[in-house]
């Protein structure tokens, strides 16, 4: 594989769509990742990915666009997880477990009773750039602009809440509304991300760039900047490797993230940093 053949691949519309959507997912997931990781809500991505599996199965049975079906249902599921975890009787991890396992069961049930799908369901489980349509690119662009804008508008409030929830409440910030906003934005990111990395691996896009960035930075804003850089690099290089070497897209992206995390952690340890 030489440079010429890589440029030839880049001229294909499906590769261009994958790179654009991948870039947008990298930005939105890394913008949200720091708030979820530091608040110990990392696994919400995994739980919502299970829900999105069920919604994709439902959309394929109904012959509808998975994005249109998934976004409202996964958003509602994220609010339900939040509601259950706010009740003292159920912890956040248990709430995620309840919703995730129930959704997976529904997804498997729908798959087994349906007469087969026109699109391979495994494309959504493990990600495939072949399933990204032009309409997905436009929708991803709109939703990413929405996610980034809302995070920037409420940045100070989200940061205050992430560091010290009690102080955020005391200072008059609407923490319940902010939590709901964060949950819905996470749900949207998960749904967007399953096209590229799949439901099984999407949570890693939220977790990996942030935990790698945490080892490189002292400040909150600079951690977000590093997370965005790491996410963009891993997603774009993962897609290109996947296209050129015919590797699965999702696992290529996750493995690059894992390697980056290992290299950064080791480097910082050798330097006597925080890793």
């Amino acid at each position: 594989m030489n440079i010429t053949s890589i440029f030839r691949l880049l001229s294909y519309a499906f590769v261009q769509r994958a790179l654009i959507v991948g870039l947008l997912i990298a930005i939105s997931s890394s913008f949200l990742g720091i708030f979820l990781v530091l608040r110990k809500y990392s696994m919400i991505g995994d739980g919502l990915a299970h829900v999105s599996f069920a919604t994709v199965a439902l959309a394929l049975v109904l012959n509808q666009s998975p994005l249109i079906i998934s976004i409202p249902i996964v958003s509602l599921a994220s609010l339900l997880i939040l509601k259950l975890s706010e009740e003292n009787r159920i912890g956040g991890d248990a709430a995620i477990g309840l919703i995730a396992s129930t959704s997976l069961a529904i997804g498997v049930f729908i798959t087994s009773v349906s007469n087969g799908f026109s699109v391979d369901l495994s494309s959504y489980l493990f990600g495939s750039i072949l399933i990204i349509a032009q309409s997905d690119v436009y929708l991803s662009l709109i939703l990413t602009v929405l996610i980034v804008s809302l995070v920037l508008v409420f940045y100070q409030d989200l940061f205050a809440m992430t560091y010290d929830l009690d102080y955020a409440k005391v200072s008059g910030r609407k923490t319940k509304r902010l939590n709901q906003l964060l949950s819905i934005l996470t749900a949207i990111t998960i749904v967007l991300g399953i096209r590229v990395v799949g439901t099984m691996l999407i949570s890693s896009l939220i977790i990996f760039p942030t935990v790698s960035a945490l080892r490189l930075s002292n400040g909150f804003k600079s951690t977000i900047v590093w997370a965005v850089i790491i996410a963009i690099f891993s997603v774009l290089s993962g897609i290109l490797i996947s296209v050129t070497l015919d590797f699965p897209t999702g696992s290529s992206i996750v493995l690059i993230n894992a390697i980056l995390f290992g290299v950064i952690s080791l480097t910082m340890k050798l330097k006597g940093g925080s890793a």
């Binding site: 100070q156 009690d166 102080y167 409440k169 200072s171 909150f220």
Partner: protein
């Protein structure tokens, strides 16, 4: 004197356990009220009710004189986030004290630098919050509580995690703030000897209000003597004597 905050017949139950029973008191503008009591007396629960952190209670509290939630500064007992690797600089933490989204960035920066200079933490502004000592952290959280110029500062045992040498310095700093800028203070503590020498009024709590009034009259309270015994009352009276000594 104008009232800033009034608590009326406030009661809190945690299941079948009564944490607070029919509490009434008020805080005046330019007041320095110390809330004291033994462990488990309900001091922290009372504070959480006033700050809106406990929403389920009977009775009420009223903010007077146009006091808003945003006008209250709050200083916790110790660093609220124990994650030493949390990626936030001192500057970013102080900034969270500003809730006014319309504030000019330059004005905000100037205010943060000036306040941190006053509190002796200017050189720490770019440091990671988790790397600071207990005393340095409390100064940072004090800066966070003061950056929006509160009318009322509520402190929950702010020196319990500090070494004794820094305690006196800390209370002098609060006293200076109270005297020079007229910020009303509510100080929650069980450290009678070192804390209450600065307070004007005292609320002694033991699930119920045992005493609420001026520090100078505390020795005259038979209810307090009966409730806490002669030894503890003597400790409070020493505070009174100290007050006289300071004024003389």
């Amino acid at each position: 004197m104008n009232k800033l905050l009034e608590v009326r017949n406030l009661s809190v139950n945690f299941g079948r356990v009564k944490a607070l029973d029919d509490i009434s008191f008020h805080v005046e503008a330019n007041d320095y009220l110390a809330i004291v009591g033994p462990n488990g007396s309900g001091k922290s629960s009372l504070m959480k009710c006033i700050l809106g952190l406990i929403e389920s209670f009977q009775g009420s509290y009223v903010y007077w004189d146009d006091l808003q939630r945003e006008d209250i500064g709050y200083l916790p007992q110790r660093s609220p986030n124990q994650d030493k690797h949390f990626p936030a600089t001192v500057y970013e933490i102080i900034q969270t004290g500003i809730t006014n989204k319309k504030i000019d960035r330059k004005a905000m920066h100037k205010a943060i630098v000036e306040l941190s200079r006053k509190l002796g933490i200017e050189e720490l502004l770019n440091q990671k919050i988790g790397t600071l000592s207990g005393g340095q952290s409390q100064r940072v959280f004090l800066a966070r509580a003061l950056i929006h110029k509160p009318k009322l500062l509520i402190m929950d045992e702010p020196t319990s995690a500090l070494d004794p040498t820094f305690r006196d310095e800390f209370y002098q700093l609060i006293k200076q703030l109270h005297d020079e800028e007229g910020v009303a203070i509510v100080l929650i503590s069980h450290d009678l000897s070192s804390v209450n020498q600065y307070a004007k009024n005292l609320l002694y709590l033991d699930q119920k209000v045992v005493y609420f009034g001026s520090v100078q009259n505390v020795c005259m309270s038979e209810a307090l003597m009966h409730q806490i015994g002669p030894q503890a009352t003597a400790a409070l009276c020493q505070v009174e004597n100290h007050e006289h000594h300071i004024h003389l």
